[in-house]
Structures are given as structure tokens and as C-alpha cells.
């Protein structure tokens, strides 16, 4: 046995040592003394057999043996019924006897506390268990040993039921969505909204791991003989200090239940190269398969061929409309203030809705309920400070963070003065505040505020400014063990202002949207079902633009569009169900109801004619509160997960999403003058259907994790602008828009190396994103009604990230990204008509800008890793765009002095951009 299964040696040793062993160090010493210990131990297995008098079954022999000594054997008779003992076995030790029978069979045996011998049918499991333990020890993770019940009641092959709760070590909050992994991941469950989990395990020994992004993993070496309770406290991973990188971060693909869900590790983001030293959540998102961007300075991101407005970004439960600073160079969330980031690109659960493509759920940090902490960072562009702690110990906590630019000196050093760039100025800040107050053991009140603001002056004349504000109060209550409720009242606001101070044409353009929200999310757990259900309501109050003269002398005529009001109500229910212990099903249904409300006016248009201002027939005026238009739809969601083998699983999902507000833009990214338009009589809700299937697999030694996913997504009622349409301050925006369908499909392949000095990931995506606008008349068609690539169709995308640890404190990390250049329409020739020279443009999006590729590198030097020092610091030295490629961002047209237009490409970043930053914590 020992020769074949060296793991078992460790196990035996642990049995003898476990009562004394408390720290990994003593274990390692013990391990070195292995051979000695084996010789010395008065092991039951070493007992010499003398009692066999006649040939009998092994079963009877063992029963007799039990009677003669204080030993208990645990086995199923059918496992051993073929074995017979006879007097020739006398003088052998028990171990030799059993080894003679079971070597090379699927049955192994294990000694527990030197008086019980357990027969185990599947030694692979046991070995795997030993491997897990050994790995944990070598990684210096704390392994707790817990025994539930006593071996006396052990019945092999029977099952035990474990229930429990995972709470945050600091503030006793339930840890939602944490993974509970049984043994090598054969079975895993996640915690519900109240941090609870339930798992059924075979009686015997198990390794149970409790894992959550940005938290330190807990490992329990469990011997279980009867039903029991396991309550776990998880602590956050120390800031840049996780001594050993958690080896299996990507196995979330295997064990987390949801296809298309990924969680982002904040600690890992900090060790990747940055642009000007800013740690960035959304930039990190863009290294994942299926997520793309059109380039630097482009706000927003595209998920699986979806447009930038199809992404739901929830900050503490409130949607955020524009998450960028400085036109998308930076993300408007301070990574330091973020506790967790969940991202769904498919298999979106029923509790999320309102956007067609993806969900990014960001939860900000709560303060430590025990003591005060602060950390900060000093970068080239910004500084940030985050602090948190108890206002009243264990009852009320505060967490706050603020980040701001110092000044606009960066732009002053720009060498090129294209477009008056050096005369530009940039200013931004963002801040969070979170206050949590425990009302009782069962209820809690959380107040959260987020604010961000930007001021950007491109030339001496025009200033762009935009701001976000979200605020919410949430009341969590646990009714009894099974029902958990979370009620939130929230308010969101987004607006921008463009101001030009020209004496004659000076103007001020204002745009503002406000959206108070209510949501009530409930969770109810039964033995095999986990129900989530709730109601969400958003009141949308859009002021879609007003133009006023900015100067007394300005000749500009003021113009203002009417307010737009709508209410969106959604009800959802979802059930997570484990079928026969293998197939897991999450099935949900969401009903969304959208009511566009008065006051307002809707134009009528001539029948069978394109919507044009000159085909208008009448205007219908709606009173305040009258329903202008109602839409509703059922959104089924389904997600399946089937473990094919121990190390692999097959998953599939389908979801339908309704989207009632639309970003109207003729640029590919979110620009500061974009218009969000609510659905109305003419602008129908976007309806997305997405199918995806994936195969997820880990290599045997778990060094590599691979996945391959395929998806198909179609969206109805997508909007594209009519050629030459004017979008800004257009009171009948439907005349500027065309509606059609989009389809996108692709295959995403990823490989992660999760262990060793070198870790990293590589992914390749092939995907297409196509649109078709095929209206009744030629003017209502784009490219004659044929499919054409969307602005962000990037068929080939490769992302490579790595991190090499030279020592525990010195890292070299990098990011390489490549994608096909995005499509553009350009002037191809010119002609003369009506006395003027006109450029002949290509069909829409028939050309592509050059392919994009970029390499970023970073060195991270961290302070020493002693846990109890007062001050921790780390340096991050980054090189963005290491080989200085001039990646084209966009193409624009200018008269080339021939009267016709010529295409020019604009590269926003044309050189290497080094930066250095310092982070501290105390």
C-alpha cells in the first residue's frame, strides 16, 4: 500500500500527529521524521494475526477480530465477500494481510484514531484528499481539522448533511456567492444571499475549501460521521500581501455554478501593468475573452458583439451610465474602494435585467468592524486615499475613499500639440462613502454614496464636463434560517455639460438624467431548492438636452427638448436546483414592464413612408401621467452545469433580455455628448437572445485550466443612425434613426496557468458582430439592407497576461493584446454635383483601420510581508505601449484642399508611456 499510494503515509502520520499539530511548521518537521515514526508506532495494522483456525470469509474473520480486541472495522460486506482467509495467513500483520487482498484493487483502508479501520472503495479520492492537504501545507495555508460526530455511528456509504454560514471575519456580513468546494471540486455549492450553504457529503474524511474572491481561502480537513453545522469566518486577503498567490483562482470556471460568470481579483489587478499608474477594473475586464474595446480613449466596452450601451453596470445595486474619466482613459471607480466585481457575459440570472448584453456588479467595501485602517496611493496622475473602521465597534462601520487628479500638468508636457492638446486641461475626481449599521443580529442598514466628476477642456474654448451620482439605503433582514430579504431605496443621476465661450457662437449644452430606484430582493432556501425572487422599479426622468447661449454676445438661439419620463417595473423569480446530485439547473423568469409616461408629444407620420420630419402628419399631446406607450416582455433564463468527469464540466445557458433605454450615438464608444433615449412609440425595446455552451476542464495536476465557449446572440430592434442624421437636440429622434437586427457569434478559448512562479492567462476569441438594417424604402436601409459589420466588429482577439514572481516581493507582469482593426467608412473618390465637389464614401463599415496591438510591462516591488508591521508600501513601475506602436483610434475626414475629403487616422497614444506609483497601507 505505502509504495503505491505515498499519500496515505502522510495521512497515517497525520492521524498520529493531529492532536498535537497546530502549525504547518511542526507538520513539516514531522514529515521529515516519517520513517522513524512509522517504526515506533504501535499501530493496529502492525498487529500480528494468530487467530485463524480454519478457512473462513474475510468478513467473518473481521467480525471475530472485532470481538477479540477493541477494534472497529467499517466496510460493506459486498466489497470483501470474495476474499477468504485461512491459517496460512497467521503470523502476518493485519496490514500485510489486507494489503495482500487489496493492493491494486479499488479498495483501500484507512486507520482512524488507531482503533477504527475504514475500508474505502475509491482510493483515488483519498489520494486526491491527501494531495490537497499536502498542497495546502506547502502553500502555508491554514488547515483546520474538524470532526463532526463520532466514528461509532459511522455507516459506510451513508450520507451526511452539512449546513452552515460564511461570514466576513471583519464585519460579520454574510459572504454571498462564496464557493464551498468538496474535495477536488467534484461537488461545489455557493452561498446564498444570507451567506448560507448546504452540501451533502458521503460520511468519511473530506477536504472542504471555502473560497471567495479577494478573501483568504479556508481549508477544513473534515471527518464527518453525522449531519452537522459548519460556520466559517473568511478574512480578506491582505493588501498586496497574499504570500502565496492562491493557486486555483481560475478553477472558479469549474466550480462556480454559472456559465459566463467571472469574478475579478482586485489583488491581481494591482499587479498588472497600468496606464499612467491607474489600477483599472474595466481595463482588466477587457483582457477577458469576449470583452473588447475599440481602443484607447474609448469609454465603455463591448461584450460578445454587443454595443457599449448593452452593459448593465451596477454599483452597490444602482446602475451607472458613464464609468469613464477623461473620455475613457480611466475608469471612474477607485479599485481600492471595491470589494468585489462579478461579471456576467452569458447565463445572466433573472435578478438582473434592463440591458441586453452583460452585467458588471460592483460592490464597494464596508469598514472593518474591529479597527481603523487606511491606505493610499500616489501616482503620476492621481492620488487616492481609502480609510475605514468602526464608528461603534461591531455595530457601525464607515468606509470612504477619494481619488483625484492633482492638476493638468500631464497634458502640458504633451509633445504634440494636435488640436491644441497642450492647451487642454483635465480634472476629475471620484469618491465613495459607505456606512453600515447593525440593527440587530438579524438586520442591518447600509448607506452608500458614489460620486464622480470630470472636466475636460479640449481647446481653449470648449469644456466638456460630466458627472455621476448614486446613493442608496439598503435594509437587510434575515427572517428565519431560510428567508433573507434585502430592500433598497436608491437614486442615480448622470449628466453632462459642454460649454463653448466663443463670443458669437458660444453655447452651453446640458443633458441630465435622474433615476430613482427601488428594489426588493428575497432569498428562500429549501433543502434542494434555492429561490430568489423580487421586484425592481426605476423611475426614469430624462432631460434630453438644452442649448443656451453661454455669452451675452452669443447669437445662438436657445433650444430645449421636453423631458421624458418612464417607469420600468420588473418582477423575477429564479430557482437553483441540483438534480440527482449531478446536473445543476438554474431556471428563472423575469417580467419587465416599461411605461413611457406623459407629459409628452408624439408625432404622427404618413403611412408607408419613412419617418422624416417632412412626412409628419400630426402631433399627439399627452397629459402628465398618461401612458404614451407600454411595452412588456417575459425574459426566460436558464443555466445548466453538468460535471462530465472530476476535472471537467459541460455548461449551457440561454437568456433573453429586454432593454428599454438606448444609447444614440454615431461614434463607436460612449462620448460625452451621447444621448440616452427611452423607448417610445417608434423606438422599440431591444430584445436579446443569447445561447452559449462551454466545456471547462482542469489538467490533472491543476496547473492548467482551460475552457472553450461558443455563443450566439441575436438582438431585435437595435438602432443605428441614418446617414447624415443630426442626433443632438433632435426633438423627433426617430427621424434620425433606423431600426434593425444584430447577430453575433463566436468561440472563446482560454487557458490559465494558475500555479508556479509564472502564472498567467492566454485567450483567443473569434467572433463576429453583424447588423442588418433593411427598412421598407431605400432611405431606411443601410448598405442596401445587407448584413454589415458593426463599428466594433473585431473578429480576432488575443490577450496574454502573465506574472512572474522573482521573489515573494518582486514581480514582473505583462499584458499583450491584439485585435483586428475595427471597421470604418471612408471616402474613396470624389465627384462634382450641383457645382460642389462631393466625396463618394464606401458602404458603411467596409474598410478597417489597422490592427491594434500593444504590450504593457510592469515591475512590482512590495514591502516585506510581515503581517504585524505598521506601514506597508509597494512600488509599481509600468510601461504602457512598450514598443510604442501608433495604434489608430479612429478615422476622421478633412478637406485635403482639393474640395474633397481625405481620411486621416488618429492615434491617441503614439509612444511608450512609463509611469511609477507608490501604494501604502497602515
Amino acid at each position: 500500500m505505502t509504495n503505491n499510494y505515498p499519500g496515505l503515509v502522510v495521512y497515517w502520520l497525520k492521524e498520529t500527529m493531529s492532536r498535537k499539530r497546530t502549525t504547518p511548521i511542526t507538520f513539516v518537521l514531522a514529515f521529515l521524521m516519517l520513517s522513524q515514526l512509522l517504526c515506533q508506532s504501535q499501530n493496529l495494522l502492525e498487529t500480528k494475526i494468530t487467530s485463524i483456525t480454519h478457512e473462513q470469509s474475510l468478513e467473518n474473520f473481521l467480525i471475530d477480530f472485532e470481538k477479540a480486541s477493541k477494534v472497529k472495522f467499517f466496510f460493506l460486506p459486498e466489497w470483501i465477500k470474495s476474499f477468504q482467509v485461512n491459517p496460512s495467513h497467521n503470523q502476518k500483520t493485519l496490514k500485510e494481510l489486507l494489503a495482500g487482498f487489496f493492493d491494486n484493487s479499488s479498495i483501500s483502508f484507512s486507520l482512524l484514531n488507531n482503533y477504527s479501520l475504514i475500508f474505502i472503495k475509491d482510493p483515488g479520492k483519498l489520494i486526491e484528499r491527501e494531495r490537497l492537504l499536502q498542497e495546502a501545507f506547502t502553500k502555508k495555508k491554514v488547515v483546520k481539522r474538524i470532526t463532526i460526530g463520532t466514528p461509532n455511528v459511522l455507516k459506510p456509504e451513508s450520507l451526511a448533511f452539512i449546513s452552515g454560514k460564511i461570514i466576513d471575519l471583519k464585519n460579520d456580513d454574510p459572504v454571498i456567492g462564496a464557493t464551498v468546494i468538496l474535495d477536488s471540486g467534484l461537488k461545489a455549492v455557493t452561498t446564498d444571499e444570507s451567506g448560507k450553504f448546504e452540501i451533502v457529503v458521503p460520511i468519511g474524511s473530506h477536504i472542504i475549501r471555502f473560497r471567495y474572491v479577494n478573501y483568504e481561502e479556508q481549508i477544513i480537513d473534515l471527518d464527518i460521521f453525522e449531519n452537522g453545522v459548519l460556520n466559517i469566518r473568511l478574512g480578506e486577503t491582505p493588501f498586496l500581501l497574499d504570500e502565496i498567490v492562491i493557486s486555483d483562482e481560475a478553477s472558479q470556471d469549474i466550480t462556480s455554478r454559472n456559465i459566463g460568470l467571472s469574478s475579478i481579483k482586485i489583488g491581481e489587478i494591482k499587479r498588472l501593468p497600468t496606464f499612467l499608474g491607474e489600477v483599472d477594473i474595466i481595463k482588466q475586464l477587457q483582457t477577458q475573452a469576449g470583452v473588447t474595446t475599440v481602443g484607447e480613449g474609448a469609454s465603455g466596452y463591448n461584450v460578445r458583439g454587443g454595443s457599449v450601451d448593452q452593459n448593465l453596470i451596477l454599483l452597490d445595486g444602482i446602475p451607472v451610465f458613464n464609468v469613464s474619466h477623461v473620455f475613457g482613459f480611466f475608469t471612474a471607480f477607485n479599485a481600492e474602494s471595491v470589494k468585489s466585481v462579478d461579471f456576467y457575459k452569458g447565463g445572466i440570472p433573472a435578478e438582473y435585467g434592463g440591458k441586453a448584453s452583460s452585467v458588471l456588479k460592483i460592490v464597494t467595501k464596508e469598514g472593518d468592524s474591529d479597527k481603523w485602517h487606511a491606505n493610499g496611493g500616489v501616482g503620476i496622475l492621481t492620488s487616492q486615499v481609502t480609510f475605514g473602521g468602526p464608528i461603534k465597534k461591531d455595530v457601525t462601520t464607515l468606509s470612504a475613499s477619494i481619488r483625484s487628479t492633482y492638476s493638468d500638468w500631464v497634458l502640458k508636457t504633451v509633445s504634440s500639440n494636435y488640436g491644441g492638446l497642450r492647451n487642454s486641461s483635465v480634472n476629475f475626481y471620484d469618491g465613495n462613502l459607505k456606512l453600515a449599521h447593525k440593527l440587530s443580529e438579524k438586520s442591518k442598514l447600509v448607506f452608500s454614496v458614489y460620486s464622480s466628476q470630470d472636466q475636460f477642456r479640449l481647446t481653449n474654448d470648449t469644456t466638456y464636463g460630466w458627472k455621476n451620482l448614486t446613493a442608496s439605503v439598503r435594509f437587510d433582514h434575515s427572517f428565519n434560517g431560510n428567508l433573507f430579504s434585502s430592500f433598497q431605496v436608491g437614486y442615480g443621476q448622470y449628466g453632462y455639460e459642454v460649454q463653448d465661450v466663443d463670443n458669437v457662437a458660444g453655447f452651453k449644452l446640458n443633458y441630465n438624467i435622474k433615476y430613482p430606484t427601488l428594489r426588493w430582493d428575497l432569498n428562500y432556501s429549501l433543502e434542494k431548492h434555492k429561490f430568489t425572487f423580487g421586484w425592481q422599479a426605476t423611475y426614469a426622468d430624462f432631460s434630453p438636452g438644452s442649448l443656451t447661449p453661454s455669452q451675452q454676445s452669443s447669437q445662438l438661439k436657445a433650444k430645449s427638448l421636453d423631458k421624458e419620463i418612464a417607469i420600468e417595473n420588473s418582477f423575477y423569480v429564479s430557482d437553483t436546483y441540483l438534480l440527482k446530485g449531478k446536473l445543476e439547473i438554474i431556471a428563472g423568469l423575469r417580467l419587465s414592464i416599461f411605461d413611457r409616461l406623459g407629459p409628452g408629444k408624439i408625432y404622427g407620420y404618413k403611412n408607408n413612408q419613412p419617418l422624416e420630419s417632412f412626412t409628419r402628419t400630426d402631433t399627439t399631446v399627452f397629459k402628465k401621467g398618461a401612458i404614451i406607450k407600454e411595452y412588456y416582455g417575459l425574459e426566460p433564463r436558464l443555466s445548466l452545469s453538468y460535471p462530465v468527469t472530476e476535472n471537467s464540466s459541460l455548461k449551457a445557458s440561454y437568456n433573453r433580455m429586454y432593454q428599454y433605454n438606448h444609447l444614440i450615438s454615431n461614434t463607436a464608444s460612449i462620448a460625452p455628448v451621447d444621448i440616452w433615449q427611452l423607448s417610445n412609440r417608434y423606438i422599440k425595446p431591444q430584445i436579446a437572445d443569447q445561447f452559449s455552451v462551454g466545456y471547462f476542464s482542469n489538467s490533472k495536476n491543476r496547473i492548467f485550466e482551460t475552457s472553450i465557449e461558443a455563443f450566439y446572440k441575436s438582438v431585435q430592434n437595435i438602432l443605428d443612425y441614418k446617414d447624415g442624421a443630426n442626433l443632438i437636440l433632435n426633438s423627433g429622434l426617430e427621424t434620425a434613426l433606423l431600426s434593425g437586427i444584430s447577430k453575433s457569434y463566436g468561440v472563446e478559448a482560454s487557458i490559465f496557468k494558475t500555479k508556479g512562479r509564472l502564472t498567467g492567462s492566454l485567450n483567443y476569441t473569434f467572433a463576429r458582430s453583424l447588423r442588418q438594417i433593411n427598412g421598407a424604402t431605400p432611405i431606411e436601409r443601410i448598405n442596401n439592407g445587407d448584413y454589415y459589420p458593426s463599428n466594433f466588429d473585431q473578429p480576432h482577439v488575443i490577450n496574454l497576461t502573465w506574472k512572474l514572481s522573482f521573489t515573494k516581493r518582486l514581480f514582473f507582469s505583462g499584458l499583450f493584446t491584439y485585435h483586428t482593426g475595427r471597421p470604418v467608412s471612408i471616402p474613396t473618390s470624389a465627384y462634382s454635383a450641383g457645382g460642389i465637389v462631393v466625396s463618394d464614401f464606401s458602404e458603411r463599415n467596409q474598410y478597417r483601420i489597422p490592427d491594434y496591438h500593444r504590450l504593457d510591462l510592469a515591475f512590482i516591488i512590495e514591502g516585506n510581508h510581515k503581517r504585524k508591521k505598521l506601514w506597508e508600501g509597494s512600488w509599481v513601475i509600468s510601461c504602457y505601449n512598450f514598443y510604442g506602436r501608433k495604434n489608430a483610434f479612429s478615422v476622421f475626414f478633412a478637406d485635403n484642399n482639393s474640395g474633397a475629403l481625405e481620411a486621416y487616422k488618429l492615434s491617441i497614444i503614439g509612444t511608450i508611456i512609463p509611469s511609477i506609483g507608490y501604494n501604502f497601507k497602515f
Binding site: 458669437v504 473618390s829 454635383a833 450641383g834 492615434s907
Partner: protein, 349 residues
């Protein structure tokens, strides 16, 4: 040290330019001749004035919806005109152009869609407002118009300005000495003196020149109340001495547009007014109303359209400028100052 190094470079997409037939034709309800120009589209070069390649030898005719066919004659390379002076468009009739030409030794036939000529409505008022502007004071030109009920109300305006140029060629100086131009009517007095003497009338002191609006205005009636179009801005005329030596004659034409023509000019205007500015939509392909009958894959460009025209003229006088203006008199022959300057006084002056 941080360097963004943003940069702008011509985008070379390795275009292969295929010559496409371009039709530029307008038939109006005014007396002819009416012109259809045929050219091929061509590539452009930086700082090279665009020159269209004319298409000669084509057979061009205009047909109406009664079956009448009017053949056009090529009067210069690529320019085809109606000969019959009584041929003009009649309100409510539909017209299209038919073109036959040999391209690569095979016959290609093109045709426009049928365009119906709508009445142009009334041009109620042409007026101006003086504007003080740091980059030069100017007159803003506006029109008020009334669309005819039951028409699409789509309109385009273009204008022609006529003004006088006054020069003093008698004061012409060469090599530091008076040297009156011959056409000034003056001669230098004597061999040594610097005096000049009038001997006849000046034939190059007063010219008139015309300028066409460099851009045009189109309007779809959006935001107008009822059928009244109020204060549509047509453009600006600089309030400078070079133009206002006397007065400025402004003739505004109001053209009715078909829907196809409106969509064409809207996009063309969009290109001209500049892309990339905050309030301007992206430029895009302009689809004309010409299609090939022989090869449905062959793309053709341009527009054949029909318009009804009304016009109105006003004068803007020097006295309308409330600020003092200066004028540096030229001592050149006034006919040389502008390309189309003429000493023939227009009848309306």
C-alpha cells in the same frame, strides 16, 4: 516625463478606385436650356484641385410621364443641353433622365428614378441683419417663405450677389513715377512733370462682379409653424469696403426639392459643413437616384432632379452699415480684380 505622442496620419486604405458614372442634372420650370453633366468619379490628391473627367459621346434624353422624350445635345465635353427653348418642366409632371453610353466597348444604359416637380411655394421676404463680429462685421441673410399646402415643403435656396468695384487706375504708379493706365482716360502730363491730364472717359474704373453662394441652404420645414418658414439663414456677406463701394444686389432663388434631392443635398451639405464638429453627424455615402439598367451591380452616382424656382432680389446699401468702413482704392484695371468682373452695368443697377 510623460509623452502621449498622439498623432494624425493619412489613412491609406489601399483603395482601388473604380470610375463610376456621375450624373448632375437639373430640370426646372423656367425657360431653358436645361443641363445634364456627365462625368466619372476620380481619386483626389492633397492640394490638387479636383477635376472631374467628362463623359462624352453619350446619348442623353429626358422623358416625362406622358411619354414625351426630349433629346439633349452635347454642347461641350460632357455637358448636354436641351435645344428646344420651349421645353421646361410642368408642375405636377414626373421626369426622368435616360443615358446610353459605350463603356469598354459595351453599351451601358442608366436611368434616374422618376422625379415629380412640386411647386416652390412663396418666397415672401429676403432681408438682412447687421452683425458685429470679431472676425469681421457682416450681414446675415435671411428669407421668410411659405410652403404650398399638400406639398412636401422641401426647399433649397441659392443666391447670386452683384456688387460694384471702383478703382482709380489714373493713379497707377510705376518705378516711383505716375503711370496712368490707358483705360483710365488720363495721360502723364509732359516729360518731366508728375502731373496727369484727363483726355477721355475712364473705361476700367467701374466694374460689376457676381458671386454665387459658396454654400446652399436646404430646409425640411422642421419646427416651422404651419406653412410659414420664418427667418431661414442663407449665409453672410462681409460688410467691407471692397464689396460695399456702393451697394450689393442680392438675388435669391428658392427651389422646390424632391425627397431624393433633399436627401442628397442634406448629406452633401453635411460633408461641406465639416465633419467631426460637435453638432455634425458623421459623413456617409450619398446615394443618388441613378441606376444602371444593363448591370445592376454597377454603381452610379449623382442626381437628376426637378425643381420649380421663384426668386426675389434686394439691395443692401452702404448706408446700411452703421460702422465706418475703409476701402483701399486699387489703381488697377477693375476688370482684372475679379475673374468675372465686367464693365457692363447690369440692367437692375
Amino acid at each position: 516625463m510623460v509623452i502621449f505622442g498622439s498623432c494624425v496620419e493619412p489613412f491609406n486604405a489601399n483603395l482601388s478606385i473604380d470610375k463610376k458614372l456621375v450624373v448632375d442634372g437639373l430640370l426646372t420650370d423656367q425657360p431653358g436650356p436645361h443641363t445634364v453633366r456627365l462625368t466619372y468619379s476620380a481619386g483626389t490628391g492633397v492640394n490638387q484641385k479636383f477635376n472631374a473627367v467628362p463623359v462624352n459621346g453619350a446619348k442623353v434624353s429626358i422623358a416625362d410621364d406622358t411619354g414625351h422624350n426630349e433629346l439633349l445635345t452635347e454642347i461641350s465635353l460632357g455637358t448636354y443641353q436641351t435645344i428646344n427653348s420651349s421645353f421646361k418642366a410642368e408642375i405636377g409632371r414626373k421626369y426622368n433622365v435616360h443615358i446610353e453610353l459605350f463603356k469598354n466597348n459595351s453599351l451601358s444604359v442608366f436611368e434616374s428614378t422618376q422625379e415629380m416637380i412640386e411647386p416652390s411655394g412663396e418666397l415672401d421676404n429676403v432681408y438682412f441683419e447687421y452683425e458685429r463680429n470679431p472676425s469681421g462685421n457682416r450681414f446675415a441673410i435671411y428669407v421668410d417663405a411659405t410652403k404650398k399646402s399638400s406639398t412636401n415643403g422641401l426647399m433649397r435656396w441659392r443666391w447670386t450677389g452683384t456688387y460694384q468695384i471702383t478703382t482709380e487706375p489714373q493713379f497707377h504708379i510705376e518705378e516711383g513715377a505716375p503711370s496712368p493706365l490707358a483705360c483710365s482716360g488720363y495721360v502723364r502730363g509732359g516729360n518731366s512733370g508728375n502731373s496727369i491730364t484727363k483726355e477721355g472717359p475712364c473705361t476700367c474704373c467701374e466694374c460689376w462682379t457676381i458671386e454665387k453662394s459658396s454654400y446652399f441652404t436646404i430646409y425640411d420645414g422642421e419646427q416651422s409653424i404651419g406653412n410659414k418658414y420664418q427667418k431661414i439663414l442663407l449665409g453672410y456677406i462681409p460688410a467691407i469696403g471692397e464689396i460695399f463701394s456702393d451697394k450689393y444686389h442680392l438675388d435669391v432663388e428658392q427651389l422646390s426639392l424632391t425627397v431624393n434631392a433633399y436627401n442628397f443635398w442634406k448629406l452633401a451639405k453635411n460633408q461641406k459643413d465639416g465633419t467631426g464638429s460637435l453638432f455634425q453627424p458623421a459623413s456617409a455615402k450619398i446615394r443618388g437616384n441613378i441606376r444602371s439598367l444593363t448591370n445592376s451591380n454597377e454603381e452610379s452616382l449623382g442626381l437628376f432632379t426637378v425643381s420649380s424656382i421663384v426668386n426675389k432680389s434686394i439691395f443692401i446699401r452702404k448706408e446700411d452699415i452703421p460702422d465706418p468702413i475703409s476701402y483701399n482704392y486699387s489703381t488697377l484695371d477693375c476688370r482684372t480684380l475679379r475673374a468675372n468682373a465686367t464693365t457692363i452695368k447690369p440692367p437692375f443697377w
